[in-house]
Amino acid sequence: MTNPSIPKPATARKGLFASGRGSGRQLTIGQQLLLQLMCLLIAVTVLFPIVWIVSMSLDGRNISRPTSLELIPPEPSINAYREVIRNPTANPVTFWELAGNSFSLAAGVSFFSVMVGVTAAYAFSRFNFTGRKILFLSVGFILLMPGIATLAPLFAMLSRVSFGFEVLRILYYIFGGVLAVGGAYMLYSRFRDDEITANGMIIALVCLGIGLLFIYTGATATTTRNFKLRDSLYGVGFAMISGALPFAIWNLKGYLDTIPKELEEAAIIDGASPNQIFFRIILPLATPALAVTAFLGFMSGWTEFALSWQFLTQPKDFTLAMSLWNMTGQYAGSVPWSKFAAMSLMISFPVSVVYLLLQKYIIGGLTLGGVKG
């Protein structure tokens, strides 16, 4: 099977018209011009919407709708961006609050699903056990389903989870306390054993920080409203993990299958246990794959729409995707299109840049997942 991620020999650059008068020939001027024209035409169609939206976002005329086609912004200004950051929608929420919601949702879901997914992927990739095939196929089948296919039961089940705010506060304290104590203990033992490494310190400090953040949130939150799991970012996160976890397992298994078994065989001869192999060999080698899978999960979470639109009712929980839809079409009302344009570019920018950087790994992985059964 041809795998685009495999580096190809330098001699293999040959295409449709690659024959003719010996290798390494030049195109005639006419051919070159014709091909350039075709390529330019394609580039124009690709760039047209992008240039249009960029130009509209920089339009400083403060009009609600563009009345003519302007691909170079008249009276360029960044007012629209300022407006969007200050108050993107009719709700009293700033851009950063929306971005914060989207970020914690996306980051939480992708981190969690990759962490849980990589252990399962390791089991599927390296062990032979009863039920392996049926379990993996069921993961694959769930992957085929769009998230909306289980929307009704998830909505119904999560809607019934509701408890008083004091219970939530206690949950915050317990969860935050466990994390904080764990982090503090890790720090303490590092110092006690005088074994200070950058990785260990970072992990310990992150644990401690997140734990303290949870305790702080629990202590300062003041609501008398009952906590409804469905009507919160946690509920949306749960629902999203139900789709993100199978994806992470499937994708990571594809990558782990490409790690040569010889490394492990050597380790087994040296007496390594499956745990040691996992932590010392597989995990370090799979770091790029983990990053890519986490990023793909992040990207789908960052722009997740259907679940949050169905679940969330409080404007303070709204995400970027929901707000963008609020600025489009029938919901747009009096929102100027320059604001919509600025908003859509600000949503795209972070994920697009990372996508471009990771491009090579992403494409290889996507087709790999499709090939391996």
């Binding site: 449709l16 919407p49 769930i142 296919a149 929307l151 119904a156 259907a306 169905q310 494409i363 499709g370």
Partner: protein, 347 residues
Amino acid sequence: MASVDRTIKRPGQIDEVSFWDRTKRARSAYLYLLPAIIIMSIITFTPILYQFYMSFTDFGARSLNPSPTNKAYLEPEWIGLENYRKIVTNEVGAKLPNFNFFRTLGFNLWWTFSNVIFHVSIGVVVAVILNIEGLRFKRLYRAIYILPMVLPQLVIATVWKNMFDGEYGAINQALKLGGGLFGIAPETFNIRWLQQIPDPIPGVPLPLSYFAMLITNIWLGWPFMTLVATGALQSIPKELYEAAEIDGATPLQQFWKITLPLLRPAMVPATILGIITTFNLFHIIYFISEGGPLGRTEILVTQAYKLINGNQLYGLGAAFSVFMFVILGLLSAATARVSRVAEAYDD
């Protein structure tokens, strides 16, 4: 516990490995699977089972919220196959007059087929052009062509929705500019892309919004196929072309006899991926045409979402999703079969 003296063997007895030792590897496999199994059984498999139960009930808004008088949930009533019957006979309620299950299914299949055909053919052609030796600015073009893949689908869909706006959209404005050069009156291009009800091509039962979304999705989809095809093209050894040339093959013959057959192993999985994602392409349909006009560009995912989101028909939505499970299962079985046939052909 009496200790057993293992040193004395009966004849024919082999070394007894205890069950515990024999299953050591399997146990650690299950241990690695455990977190995923626990989580998936709670938030993936349980909802799927609950979905089957819901599909046989009249689960609605009243079963979700506790009644104000006694704080109890009103349990949904068992109504057997009633939901399935309603879906097949299109009697889902007065609020959804445009619901038509088989038309939606048919449109969904046609939507998938027409899009993937364009994606694959344009993708391969562009990849071949970009692979021609001696073409200038290749790297620049490759960098530009990847942009549609990189942007989030949600943003692409909302931007194109505004582009197809009848009054202020860029498409009509560009057409007016272009038409002006040929002396065509600008009023000709007040095209209501997403709302127009009469079919643009007589005899073809597809509304104008389908073509608008087809354009959007072609724009969105071909760069992925180009990327996959480029990777495969670059691994075709050029000696094949040299040999073909010595035998007197024309460039076109080389394309059909060498390039295409060698592209197939890479393109088949990419095409399957494309079929599944296009079949479930929620964002484009829901954001651009919203299923309109008259629900004629609805696909299964958007219809399921509307049953639940707009109309709170949870039981009905669950039954609809069960249909989707079956249809997607059949679709993936069919694509897997086709791809196996294609692979067998290679040998």
